[in-house]
């Protein structure tokens, strides 16, 4: 009860940072500090999150336990994701990165909250907006940057680029360039978990635009028919390229679109709400079968680098998202308001991460290009003894 009052106040405090002179709230903060001794890294802190909307399932609780250590980790990971995407934007403009490139900034809380409720034994597959998924699955900024630049030290050895991050050891089955195509794969991943009885789930992520692909409904039906442990995670950032969600979907209540399948709508800008919702859903899915989680979120950048992102939505909309719902600022406020970290400590963290990203960028720039013969490898298990044409038709390079 106390936790709830606190967090309600907190939320009001966070969302009205501009008019912060509310003495009542301040008293609440200090009382909380005393009763919970929250400055200890591992001692529990209770935070209330906004209520979930649900379909054919009871709501998860709205009081979430966390710790200083967890909040700090959320802050660091999201800040790293954000800086990495901003760096990618700059590198694109400087022509170090070419081609198709979709940035994730704004949506960080979805991945960070999800990963807090999962283990790397749970499988993930996602769309082309996959840079941060790679980080969430234990990948490094360097691996992502180098992949974006087509360098051999990239996540996929520089052969795929932006849409092609994969991390086999941590069950990240990759990005996918075709809208919606990864969703049935996710059902197959889930089947394997069930078949092996390993207690893990498969997460298959797709956007609000992808939600209108026919194969998504085929995947829903199979997963539900066979009670597969699958979380269908719809990242509703409210636009599929230039089309607003409600212009492309008769019902934009994506969490209800499994009909017979339960669904939960989660505040995807709040890592704690996501963590709590995903933990609940995972437990449900392992015991009962698939569930849809709609993450209400927002992308700050345009769809891809050729989209300024401002023709089909207002600048006001973007800036109010940043001001009122930013996932990093939310965690920052929790850390500050509960006196878990002070401004100077946060600045220090930010500085260290900026440095980490900057040096990853430099290292990626200096990285080697993949060897020519990689063009021919990995098409089949072996290269079938083919030859490749050299500079002229007389030079033949044997492919081994």
């Amino acid at each position: 009860m106390h936790g709830r009052a606190l967090a309600n106040a907190l939320r009001r405090a966070t969302s009205s940072r501009a008019e912060s002179s509310a003495p009542v709230l301040n008293r609440l903060w200090s009382r909380n500090q005393q009763t919970q001794a929250a400055s200890d890294d591992s001692s529990l802190l209770e935070v209330d999150v906004v209520p979930y909307s649900t379909h054919r399932i009871d709501s998860p609780g709205t009081t979430v336990n966390t710790t200083k250590a967890e909040l700090q980790q959320f802050f660091e990971t999201m800040y790293r994701m954000r800086r990495m995407e901003i760096a990618a934007d700059m590198m694109y403009k400087a022509k170090y990165i070419r081609g198709f490139c979709h940035l994730y900034d704004g949506q960080e809380a979805v991945l960070v909250g999800m990963e807090a409720a999962l283990t790397f034994k749970d499988s993930i597959i996602t769309s082309y907006r996959d840079h941060c998924t790679h980080l969430g699955r234990g990948g490094s900024v360097l691996e992502v940057m180098a992949e974006l630049m087509g360098k051999a030290n990239g996540a996929t050895k520089g052969l795929g680029g932006s849409m092609h991050m994969y991390k086999v050891e941590n069950h990240f089955y990759g990005g996918c360039g075709i809208v919606g195509a990864q969703v049935p794969l996710g059902a197959g991943l889930g089947f394997a978990h069930k078949y092996r009885k390993d207690g893990s789930v498969a997460i298959t992520m797709y956007g609000d635009g992808a939600a209108n692909q026919g194969q998504i409904f085929e995947a829903f039906n199979m997963a539900a028919l066979w009670d597969l442990p699958v979380l269908f995670v719809c990242e509703n950032n409210h636009y599929g390229m230039g089309t607003a969600d409600y212009r492309g979907a008769k019902s934009a209540k994506y969490f209800t679109r499994g009909d017979y399948m339960p669904g939960i709508k989660i505040d995807g800008m709040d890592a704690l709400a996501v963590k709590n919702g995903v933990a609940y859903a995972k437990e449900y899915a392992v015991a009962n079968g698939p569930i849809i989680l709609e993450m209400d979120t927002y992308r700050y950048h345009g769809h891809s680098m050729s989209d300024p992102g401002s023709t089909y939505r207002t600048r006001d909309e973007i800036s109010s998202m940043r001001q009122l719902r930013d996932p990093i600022e939310r965690i920052r406020s929790l850390l500050l308001n509960n006196e878990l970290l002070d401004t100077a400590e946060l600045k220090k963290i930010e500085k260290a991460i900026k440095k980490e990203v900057d040096s990853a960028v430099e290292e990626a720039k200096a990285g080697p290009l993949p060897k020519e013969e990689m063009l021919w490898k990995n098409i089949y298990k072996d290269t079938l003894g083919m030859h490749m044409r050299g500079r002229d038709s007389k030079t033949k390079i044997k492919l081994t």
Binding site: G99, G160, A181, N212, W376, M386
Partner: protein, 307 residues
């Protein structure tokens, strides 16, 4: 020719589409005729077939040819066979589906492919690939007016690179007729779309180097294709080179080479050759290696002449 039954739709086409091909159409013709669809390719093509069966003239856009595959069944089993399987009661001839295809510089695996050969394997469809702005206008209008369903692939590289005067008004180029892009006597080069420019460049290079004279044929329509024009040319030159971006194996070049080898067997001076994409997925950083280039075509010309 005015046709009030023409409707234009696809992902974001109301705003002009990602390549701005439909810019201004919604303002001009209204939302009831130019509209956005959800990201549902299979649905888009099936919907076009239904509308066409009712006598409308749908012009659908698939945003990239790489995204056309979810709709493959609709093309192969529904569109192509509608006339045949209904004993000519129904057809979807009003339908034209446009899709940007091919290399673009750094599109990688999913924004660069050339899937035309899949569709040339489907009797009942017509497959058209223009090689420039003027050609695009003439062939697109002809495709829209054509009584058979047309798959219309546009080389997306040219959206940025091609500049040309285009006739105003109702200008059509007949579907099914190839174009002699360059006259010559020693070697015939057949190409379509973006590769016509590469063939022409190679022809210019060898002419300058040593006076080898190439005839370049812009095939324009791949299904059904203009065998007569190619046959006449190869009968004259005795040598055939086909250039396409798609992987070589089972590419449409194979069909041309087989058909012409039979028809011109005794007049051939050298084995017909194909200069094509390699049998690999479309690569990201290796695109310049993969896509047929002028030097590769020049080499092939020399080999044919010296055989």
């Amino acid at each position: 020719m005015h046709n009030s039954g023409v409707i234009v739709f696809g992902e974001d086409v109301g705003f002009g589409g990602v390549f701005r091909c439909t810019l201004g159409l919604q303002e001009k013709f209204g939302r009831h005729r130019v509209f956005n669809t959800p990201i549902s390719e299979q649905g888009i093509v099936g919907f076009a077939i239904g509308a066409a069966a009712q006598g409308l003239t749908p012009v659908a856009e698939i945003q990239f040819a790489d995204y056309i595959h979810p709709a493959f069944d609709q093309f192969v089993n529904e569109a192509a066979k509608y006339r045949y399987r209904s004993g000519n009661s129904f057809n979807c001839g009003g339908m034209t589906v446009r899709a940007p295809y091919g290399a673009v510089g750094h599109g990688g695996h999913y924004h660069s492919q050339s899937p035309e050969a899949f569709y040339t394997h489907v009797p009942g469809l017509r497959v058209v690939v223009p090689s420039g702005p003027r050609e695009a206008k003439g062939l697109l209008l002809a495709s829209i007016q054509h009584p058979d369903p047309v798959v219309f692939f546009e080389a997306k590289m040219m959206y940025r690179t091609a500049v040309e005067e285009v006739p105003t008004g109702d200008y059509t180029i007949p579907v099914g007729q190839a174009r002699l892009a360059r006259e010559g006597g020693d070697v015939t080069i057949v190409a379509w779309g973006q590769m016509v420019a590469v063939a022409e460049q190679a022809a210019a290079v060898v002419q300058e180097q040593g006076g080898v004279s190439c005839e370049v044929i812009d095939l324009r329509t791949l299904l059904p294709w203009d065998r007569a024009t190619v046959e006449a040319s190869v009968s004259k030159t005795g040598r055939l080179i086909v250039v396409h971006e798609a992987p070589i194996t089972s590419g449409f070049g194979a069909e041309i080479v087989a058909a012409i080898s039979k028809r011109c067997f005794l007049r051939l001076e050298s084995p017909p050759v194909r200069v094509c994409g390699y049998d690999t997925p479309f690569p990201l950083i290796y695109e310049p290696l993969y896509v047929p280039s002028t030097p590769r075509v020049v080499d092939a010309i020399h080999e044919a002449v010296k055989f």
